[in-house]
């Protein structure tokens, strides 16, 4: 079992690296902070890039058209829960 806290930290680092966020580090991203639009301010290209980075890093498949995909990408906590569930499956 992976420690959820460290998984969240890993995802924050992944977001920063994959999306080229300058001048911020993992501690600047709150686990419950909204990633897209308001909050961190990511856009639709970021959504695609982040989806690709998550698939590559965690070896999971994300269906971009699935209805619940949007919910998984709300914040770091929801992404961590999604990755954990997919890896267990």
């Amino acid at each position: 079992m992976s420690n959820p806290n460290s998984l969240e930290h890993d995802i924050k680092t992944l977001i920063i690296e994959a999306l080229g966020l300058e001048d911020i580090d993992a501690s600047d991203i709150g686990s419950e902070q909204t990633l897209f639009g308001e909050g961190l301010g990511l856009d639709s290209v970021d959504a695609l890039e982040l989806g690709l980075a998550i698939q590559k890093k965690y070896g999971i498949k994300i269906d971009a058209d699935a209805k619940d995909t949007r919910n998984h990408f709300i914040n770091v906590a929801s992404l961590a829960a999604f990755v954990t569930a997919r890896q267990a499956a």
Partner: protein
């Protein structure tokens, strides 16, 4: 033959980011050392500048100050080789059966820079992205002159080339180092550019046309001649 004024210019190359630095270089042009240095574009919001390649940063750094205070400013963007590092990344991913980066892909087209320019400046004037041969500068000037002739009070021309990755060195030999030149062009007759056809094979200039033109500008020379294939371009400053 076309006529125009060069109202202002800006240029950037690694280590050359001021008028004085360019003046020195123009008097004794030398090959610049390889460098990953990129120009400062901190005038752009961090979230917007993070995706900009060095080529885009070079274009913005020379174009932005020239566009200061001007609205409805048409832009002619010229680059012969474009974003070669990005292109190589994408092709490498393809060759390795890796999925393409959406960010890289979305910025890989030749007019990506002018698209970003339009978004970031809220500029809806006509913009053109050209990739010509070694005389892209002159083809860009023709485009700019046409826009001036249509009534634009000023046209911004930005020409930039990125140092190609080593994989391209067999094919690309006209980029001695990364550079960008921005020219703010206005109607007038201070400069004249005319195209002639060479009857004998003309000699190509040692430096890219944009840098050679800058030497003519800064050294207060009256004229310069740029040749590419059988095209000979004569730049003439009004005496």
């Amino acid at each position: 033959m076309i006529n125009f004024n060069i109202a202002q210019w800006r240029a950037w190359a690694p280590g050359l980011d001021s008028v004085d630095a360019w003046r020195d270089w123009c008097q004794a042009p030398t090959l610049l050392a390889q460098s990953d240095a990129a120009p400062d574009v901190s005038f752009l919001p961090a979230m917007q500048r993070r995706r900009l390649s060095r080529l885009a940063r070079m274009a913005f750094s020379v174009g932005w100050p020239l566009a200061e205070g001007l609205q409805d400013l048409p832009l002619v963007f010229v680059s012969r080789h474009g974003e070669t590092p990005r292109t190589l990344d994408i092709l490498s991913d393809l060759a390795n059966d890796q999925p393409l980066s959406p960010t890289q892909f979305s910025l890989s087209v030749h007019n990506a820079v002018i698209g970003l320019w339009s978004i970031l400046r809220n500029e809806t004037s006509e913009m053109t992205a050209l990739a010509a041969a070694g005389d892209g500068l002159e083809h860009g000037m023709l485009e700019a002159a046409a826009l001036l002739n249509e009534g634009a009070p000023a046209v911004l021309l930005v020409i930039t080339e990125e140092q190609p990755p080593p994989a391209y060195t067999r094919w690309i030999n006209d980029v001695p180092f990364p550079y960008a030149l921005g020219l703010l062009l206005t109607p007038g007759d201070e400069w004249q550019l005319a195209l002639h056809t060479a009857t004998v094979q003309p000699t190509e200039t040692q430096w890219p046309h944009a840098l050679n033109l800058l030497r003519t500008l800064l050294d207060e020379q009256g004229a310069c001649q740029h040749a590419w294939k059988n095209r000979v371009w004569n730049w003439q400053r009004k005496p």
